[in-house]
């Protein structure tokens, strides 16, 4: 680990525009620092600046950036109105990690691509211009949608997938003021510049996640993984779906483990609405979703897996 300076922010203003890397729970950042994949010269600890409450806001909910994953998942209001979020968080990591991990840190967690975490390998995300060792390498956990020649990594998290399906917003404070970004637009596709995971600008701080009013709908988070717990998603599906008179009245889906961001495809949602559930419909939805999907060898299976997981989730969500 490279030596670094450490400062503790006492309030938000210390953190905004700070000339150091923010550290919250540290569960991702410290691992990467030990590997010297990240080598910040200074850390700004934001765990004492507040922003650790969940409070109602309008009909929705404001989840402070420093609310831990454990607290968020256990929050009665969250569990009542947005159980999807609670389920997605609990599907991730382990209790120890969730006790430390924060809402903002979770959104900003970096990819689990093994070449990214290994300084010897070519990686455009870690070292722009060096190439992408995952292409042609071990890429079982890599993306099938929205990849580029520069990077095929996934955003590995669960929480953000649920937030995308719930239509949540990220609140960001920067030197220039406050902005709100839908979670679904917070992460970027890799394109030419995979070094940037998301749209945060230097000096900006995530202050909260805002949940819109709860919807009366079935909320399902389905995470397919190699072991029953403590493993990242191979594919995950978050669904908010409401039935009326035997037809799908409302559908909002988001997918994890398939792209550099929580993947949403409004065309798929629209296709479903108004239709009577059937195997054929689920197949059509999967066709649309996976139209541009491309495997890299090791992750080819994610294409049929996404199809089948979508079918399972839709079958469950539309069951009588």
């Amino acid at each position: 680990m490279k030596a670094f300076d450490y400062a503790r922010a006492t309030d938000l203003s210390d953190a905004i525009g700070a000339s150091g890397c923010l550290i919250a729970g540290g569960t991702n950042l410290l691992d990467l620092m030990k590997l010297e994949v990240e080598t910040p010269s200074a850390l700004v600890d934001i765990t004492r600046i507040g922003l650790n409450e969940i409070v109602p806001e309008g009909d929705g909910l404001r989840i402070g950036a420093l609310v831990t994953n454990a607290a968020c998942a256990a929050d009665p209001a969250v569990r009542r109105g947005w159980p999807l979020l609670s389920r997605a968080i609990l599907a991730g990591a382990s209790p120890q990690l969730r006790n430390k991990a924060t809402t903002a840190g979770n959104l900003c967690q970096r990819t689990r691509c093994s070449y990214f975490m290994d300084n010897r390998s070519a990686c455009n995300k870690r070292q722009p211009g060096s190439g992408c060792a995952a292409i042609g390498g071990i890429n079982r956990n890599h993306a099938i949608l929205g990849t580029s020649d520069a990077c095929i990594a996934t955003y590995p998290g669960d929480m953000a997938v649920a937030l995308a399906a719930l239509g949540a917003q990220v609140e960001i404070e920067g030197p220039g003021g406050t902005r709100h970004i839908p979670v679904a637009d917070f992460h970027r596709l890799p394109g030419e510049d995979p070094s940037r995971d998301n749209v945060l600008e230097v000096g900006e701080v995530i202050t909260a996640v805002l949940l819109p009013a709860p919807v009366e709908a079935r909320q399902i988070y389905r995470k397919v993984r190699d072991r029953a717990s403590y493993a990242f998603a191979l594919v995950s599906v978050a669904a908010v779906l409401r039935m009326q008179d035997g037809a799908i009245a409302q559908a909002k889906l988001a997918f994890g483990g398939v792209a550099h961001k929580p993947w949403i495809d409004p065309r798929v949602d629209s296709l479903l609405v108004g239709e009577t559930p059937s195997k054929a419909l689920f197949d059509k939805a999967a066709d649309l979703l996976l139209e541009g999907a491309e495997g890299q060898g090791g992750n080819d299976f994610k294409i049929p897996l996404a199809r089948r997981t979508l079918a399972a989730v839709l079958a469950e969500a539309t069951a009588e």
Binding site: M1, A3, S114, R227, A228, Y230, K279
Partner: protein
């Protein structure tokens, strides 16, 4: 008494002794210390002035270190020295080597092989400097062999050829000809490899995390060129080893060299990643299994042709065929083991070398044969229990295979299994049951232990035997307490210090029966002494709770018969019985799985194991070993796999986030049945080993249950969703 164990001791003395602690499910005496953080592990000894060393891994796959730019890092804060001495290890020693393994770290044979040690005042400084170290190589990576290829393989041992395999297969009523593959595995012990070396003049003390102290002393001494009697190793508590700590490895020799040079203690702790990358792997295997049976399901032909890999010149080859040699009949047989040489870290012993991977393949193939025969898989096994070792004619010692099959089947409810696949569906899940036999060779190893019955009646057991989390402390104390008739609270056990007599070490499941027998014999010598005091034959001596008597006389305090401490050293060595009688442990696994019809995820719902391994010395530690083994089996079946990049050969999943051992949620209700057995051919305790038996076939039971659940027969472990998906039936279709 001769040290070598040449004729069965069937006195069953431990059944006649009176203390009543042998076999009891007693807690491990050191358990409390461990959970309270008071049992120091190798790296935890407080040594003032201890410097910290961090190993540096090669960034090439093959070649030679030409130059190391020491000066650049020597200027960094805290950095004391950079070592790349020829004596430093490039490979870890194999179990029982007793001499230096391959040295000269500057010769690079696999990616991330240790090539240097950076020592600094703090661990962080050393880590940073180790990362910054610039090394120049003569890079021959393009000549490295990265993928094991059967084409380049050579025989690893003499093949077994009996009768006419091909002919018998041609004539057989039913034939199975299948190839199974298993990937590389990591030991993944909880405690990473660690050592603190400290010199006092020309004497060395090493606190290390090691399994076999007596060999490790010789290996370390030989590595640094000093006599073994100048080396003391302390390995009092070991946080798991599973084979990876059988031999001395990089950190211990590096710490020793650095400490000698710097004149102060040096600690080297490998990172989790380094342990995965540099120490020891289980070889991947390719196993072609051919079975031919008559219409009754009796094997007439058995072919098991296996292929493994290792580094050039490495003596170890995963002994895949070990149990196939003796488990089932089939007079026409060919068993071959071939090895190819590749540039990957050393392949060596990982818990249950051989059977861990050979048995699941054999047992899956047997399941395929049962399907072909429309015969119950348990019945198929029972029909093929041979009278003597096929091809050798050797008799078996006590064998509880059939009892385990029956008892396990009963406890599990095997009769509720539906013979055809895709018969039971619960929601999204296909439910199925599978079984497999368990078998593992049994080994008695040379061992010594000193037992002292002190003047105050307390008992002290001393041996360099290690306890790697298995229960050596517990069972050695129980044997001594039982034999000397003292309450267990009055017995203490001191282990893992090379100043003590040489135990067998922890490996090959032999610790309990071997070092236990040494303790037993030391106690017998003490009993003889006490019997003299009572004027009786030793076997007539009755001892309990510190009292001694012969039948019909008044008990007297044992201390009255003594004139101060009585200390005796007990010794045992393998003898003729090892050759004359086939000794092994046996069992059976039964498993119920659920396979998700949509996603191909497999979850084990319950598992039963029944095991016969001679006398049970402590029912709790024995059960724990069985449980642990079954957990390993589940990991092997479903998740564990070392993944190497095929372009430069480096290991890509080198931590516990990415190398998936089972987590709590993967492990359901587990039931363990311990079958009563006395095997006098195995040891004077009539005990055999149990540390590995629980793995040996377990993954096969899971694989067979997957087939029974959903009809997909995978032959490539681990059975992850991606592999199952392709062949799963339509999830919307119900049971057939």
């Amino acid at each position: 008494m001769k040290d070598s164990y040449d004729s069965p001791d069937d006195r069953n003395l431990l059944d006649q002794t009176r203390q009543g602690v042998i076999g009891q499910p007693l807690d491990r005496p050191e358990g409390r210390l461990k959970v309270a953080g008071q049992a120091p592990y190798a790296a935890e000894y407080d040594r003032p002035d201890c410097a910290e060393g961090v190993l540096v891994g090669a960034t090439i796959t093959k070649g030679r270190v030409k130059a190391i730019n020491r000066d650049a890092v020597l200027g960094m804060p805290g950095v004391l020295a950079v070592f790349s001495a020829p004596e430093m290890l490039r490979r870890a020693a194999q179990g029982g080597a007793g001499e230096a393994p391959m040295q000269d770290v500057r010769q690079v044979e696999f990616p991330l092989q240790p090539i240097a040690l950076v020592v600094a005042e703090t661990f962080e400084q050393a880590t940073h400097a180790a990362k910054a170290l610039v090394v120049e190589y003569d890079d021959q990576s393009s000549k490295a062999v990265l993928v094991p290829s059967p084409g380049r393989a050579e025989p690893a041992k003499d093949p077994t050829e009996n009768g006419d395999l091909e002919g018998a297969l041609k004539d057989a009523a039913h034939v199975v000809d299948v190839t199974y593959t298993t990937p590389g595995h990591a030991s993944a012990a909880m405690e990473p490899h660690a050592a603190i070396a400290e010199w006092d003049g020309d004497s060395l003390t090493l606190h290390g995390s090691l399994q076999m102290v007596k060999y490790n002393v010789d290996e370390l001494a030989d590595s640094v060129g000093i006599p073994s009697d100048r080396v003391r190793i302390v390995s009092a508590y070991v946080g798991g080893g599973f084979g990876s700590k059988l031999g001395i490895s990089h950190e211990a020799v590096a710490a020793t060299i650095a400490s000698r040079q710097l004149g102060r203690p040096v600690r080297v702790v490998m990172t989790r990643q380094q342990v995965f990358q540099a120490v020891m792997r289980r070889s991947e295997t390719v196993q072609r299994i051919r079975l031919g049976a008559d219409s009754d399901g009796r094997l007439t032909a058995l072919g098991h042709e296996a292929f493994v890999s290792n580094l050039p010149e490495e003596s170890f080859s995963e002994p895949v065929l070990q149990a196939t040699q003796f488990l089932y009949g089939g007079e026409n047989r060919r068993l071959t083991l071939n090895i190819s040489r590749i540039n990957r870290l050393t392949a060596g012993s990982v818990r249950a070398p051989g059977e861990a991977v050979g048995m699941p393949a054999l047992e899956s193939a047997m399941d395929e044969l049962a399907v072909a025969l429309h015969l119950d898989p348990v019945e198929l096994r029972k029909r093929n229990v041979p009278d003597q070792v096929p091809g050798e004619g050797t008799p078996y010692s006590s064998r509880k295979l059939v009892e385990a099959l029956d008892a396990g089947a009963r406890a599990f409810g095997w009769d509720r299994r539906r013979p055809l696949p895709c018969q039971q569906r619960e929601g999204e899940w296909w439910i199925g049951m599978g079984m497999a036999s368990a078998a593992r060779v049994n080994i008695l190893a040379k061992a010594e232990a000193r037992v002292t019955l002190r003047g105050d009646g307390t008992v002290l057991v001393e041996t360099d035997q290690t306890d790697i989390g298995t229960g050596s402390y517990a069972i050695l104390g129980q044997i001594a307490a039982e034999m000397l008739g003292q309450p267990i609270e009055r017995t203490s056990v001191h282990l893992g210090d090379s100043l003590f007599p040489q135990g067998a070490g922890s490996g090959g499941s032999w610790a309990a029966s071997s070092t236990g027998s040494a303790v037993f014999r030391a106690c017998e010598a003490i009993r003889a002494e006490l019997a003299r005091g009572l004027n009786c034959a030793p076997d007539d001596l009755q001892l309990r709770d510190g009292m001694a008597w012969v039948e019909g006389t008044e008990p007297r305090p044992v201390t009255d018969l003594m004139d101060g401490d009585i200390a005796r050293i007990g010794r045992i060595e393998p003898g003729e019985l090892m050759e004359k009688v086939k000794q092994a442990t046996y069992g059976a696994f039964f498993c119920e799985v659920a396979v998700n019809a949509f996603t191909g995820e497999t979850r084990v719902r319950r598992m039963t194991g029944a095991f016969g391994f001679g006398r049970v010395l402590n029912a709790k530690t024995a059960r724990s070993q069985c449980l642990g083994g079954m957990v390993w089996g589940i990991g092997m079946a479903l998740t564990e796999e070392l993944q190497f990049d095929h372009r430069d050969g480096h290991l890509t999943n080198h931590d516990l986030a990415e190398y998936h051992v089972p987590v709590h949620r993967d492990i359901p209700e587990m039931e363990v049945l311990l079958i009563e057995e006395r095997d006098a051919a195995a040891s004077p305790l009539q005990a055999k080993g149990v540390g590995e038996l629980g793995i040996c076939g377990a993954a096969g039971a899971v694989a067979n249950a997957i087939y029974n659940a959903c009809g997909v027969r995978l032959r490539d472990f681990p059975m992850t969703p991606d592999k199952l998906l392709a062949d799963l039936p339509d999830p919307f279709a119900g049971p057939t």
